[in-house]
Symmetry: C2
Subunit: 417 residues, 2 copies
């Protein structure tokens, strides 16, 4: 039965995708404004339904962090509406085209950006993803299937009701944005088999969910397992900049994938930088795990072996290692990095360029905080996810990552000899 | 044991990939020239080994077409060498970068092209793929694992020996280009699980192979099942151009995925065009399968029902349908097309533009033969495969499709508030 339902949902979404694929940007923006208005008009109802999710969540003993993510206040509902209005301001990539070349036989070869088709979002307790992902997929000409976790499903349905009102007022099918009716795993598993109708799966949640989705799906999956981001303080670093970037990366917010989890210090500056780091991190109560060469600089640090790096702490904890040189830093990042974000601090332009060129990571930075590694801060506008695998998209994904390019050939009767 | 071997091969390839990822274009071109030279120097040996594959193939009763693909002559070996020299002339996309934006806080956000890492090619009886794919992956900074079918494996190993000589003369590891030692399916299946080391799988072969690879792989797979390409002759078509494009698309070469398999004719021009088509296709002995409205125009045509379209004949056969209008043509293509190549013939620019915009196909064409739909004809240079799924690449794949983009952020100490 789940199989039949999954197929029906996916087929309807694929049909709806055709209705939005060729809408003009102006028409899409009008619908998006209606969506924002409808979210505001439905505010009381959304909050009322959200209370039920909160009561159920409390009964199930959800963590405080999860309860906080789940809760919708008038401000947060307004936040969803204004986030949609920000998406109106983002440039629609669909239809963009450029000339590849004019062939000797007179054929004009262009590439043109088109929507992917149907996106499936799989997420847990954040009801706001329903509005964000719905609006981003719509703006990029795609239909979306939203599979929300058990915790937030009633809130998500209430939000979708507002979005559907806007779609219907605009003469568009509701199937452009579908919230899957039940959060059971069987139905999700069946959805992940619908490769004839769904083009891309974006899971957002814990590593377990992402592994499950990747292993089960017959559809391409955007993978984002974790963020183990490093700061490498080069021998030519401005140590004050390095310290500010270290503190910002580790302590400004800890539970996020672009927080720093590792500090690598060139041996030539270790004597000077590690005491600075020890003092500043100590004041913020950061727990230190350090290699043999670094551990003595820190009070109460825990010494770790060469194979104990690469942990994603998501807390006020960091791993510290003194490295012989630039190559050793690169080797460490290659071994323990997660392909998310890697940072060098150096005043030497050649060293910075080499780091940027050679480090294999979705975002490579010189002299800036890893905390800038998200779609908003990188100027993409809203972000639908982050990819740490290289296929299709690598790094934060904005509207363009929800599209692809086709070839366009125009001639005047050419045939092949 | 297969599992252990697959892991070893993949790990070694991943390590070798790092050695080629940052080579300069000039250095890569020098190695490619050595590869071409080595192929020439090894010509006698390659042909000698190829004879063994041919003898074994004959014993196994391979089809004439397969035997032809398998056979290497002096001319064909020279063809492999000169194909590598053509790859030298293609622009290396790795390292290309462009500014996305300069943020208000002074951060410079760029994107930079980088290699994917390790590509696995899975193919059947074409030994020349060993040289082509080896050279294309190398030029784009990737390592490649070549899993050749049983029929051509000895020839492929002999070709790889020449390539390895060039790599070793250049101080590069042989693992940059690996020919899998045995063609057994168990080892292939284990290779397809190595998602920690292999970044992309490109299968080339029959639909059965591609389905098997897609269903088995834990690594993203470029999918290219079939080519069911249509020609739509619009009411505003120049019928002489339409006839030339029809004949070229159907009869210039039949066993290829960019051959025409379907003809759609607007009812307003059916009376005029179908007799022209009947005469020309009749002279070429093309078998016709036609709908009720079209069948009377053709001698000896076979009438087919509305659900019998969408066949990939790969032969002198074509399906013909008279459609009410442009929308009916689009609907037919939506239902029966394979996302490969779709062609309109019309003198009406607006109609052509609508077709190009609305048809969901990797290549959409106006007034040109579908036979132009390959990497060489579209100006990509050599082609490593064709994707008819939209993720990562859509359509013929050249060097750029073997790369991805990362974000590069440069600042002077910025931290996030």
């Amino acid at each position: 039965m789940s199989q039949q339902l999954a197929k029906e949902i996916s087929q309807r979404a694929a049909k709806a995708a055709r209705a939005v694929a060729t809408l003009s940007e102006a028409d899409k923006n009008k619908v998006l404004q209606k969506m924002a208005d409808a979210i505001r008009a439905h505010q009381d109802k959304i909050i009322e339904v959200n209370k039920k999710d909160l009561v159920a969540g409390k009964e199930k003993g959800l963590s405080d962090a999860m309860m906080d993510r789940l809760e919708l206040t008038p401000e947060r509902v307004e936040g969803m509406a204004s986030a949609i209005e920000e998406i109106i301001n983002l440039k629609d990539p669909v239809g963009d085209s450029y000339l590849l070349e004019e062939r000797p036989n007179g054929l004009k070869i262009e590439k043109m950006r088109i929507p992917l088709g149907v996106i499936a979002m799989i997420y847990e307790a954040r009801p706001n993803v329903t509005a964000d992902a719905g609006a981003l997929c719509f703006k990029s000409g795609n239909a979306v299937i939203l599979r929300c976790g058990r915790e937030a499903i009633e809130s998500s349905k209430a939000i979708a009701e507002a979005l559907h009102e806007a779609l219907e007022q605009s003469g568009l099918p509701k199937d452009v944005i579908t919230v899957v009716p039940t959060p059971d795993r069987e139905l999700m598993t069946e959805l992940l088999q619908q490769k004839d109708y769904i083009d891309l799966v974006i899971p957002r949640g814990g590593e377990g969910l992402i592994h499950y989705v990747s292993d089960t799906s017959k559809i391409p999956v955007i993978q984002h397992y974790k963020g183990v981001c490093h700061l490498y303080v080069d021998k030519d670093a401005d140590l004050d900049k390095a310290l500010a970037i270290l503190l910002n990366g580790k302590t400004q917010r800890t539970g996020v994938c672009n927080a720093l989890e590792g500090l690598l210090v060139h041996q030539d500056v270790a004597d000077k930088f590690l005491p600075m780091a020890a003092k500043a991190l100590g004041e913020k109560d950061v727990t230190i795990h350090a290699d043999k060469r670094s551990v003595g600089y820190f009070d109460g640090a825990d010494e770790i072996g060469d194979d104990q790096f690469g942990e994603e702490y998501l807390a006020l904890e960091i791993a510290v290692r003194t490295v012989d040189d630039f190559d050793a830093a690169l080797e460490h990042i290659q071994q323990f990095g997660s392909g998310h974000t890697e940072v060098i601090v150096t005043e030497n332009d050649d060293t910075a360029k080499r780091f940027i060129r050679e480090v294999d990571s979705a975002v490579t930075m010189a002299n800036a905080s890893s905390r800038f590694s998200d779609g908003g801060q990188l100027g993409l506008g809203a972000e639908i996810g982050i990819s740490t695998s290289k296929l299709h998209a690598y790094g934060p994904m904005g509207l363009q990552a929800l599209t692809t390019e086709k070839f366009v050939v125009t001639g005047n009767g050419q045939i092949r000899e």
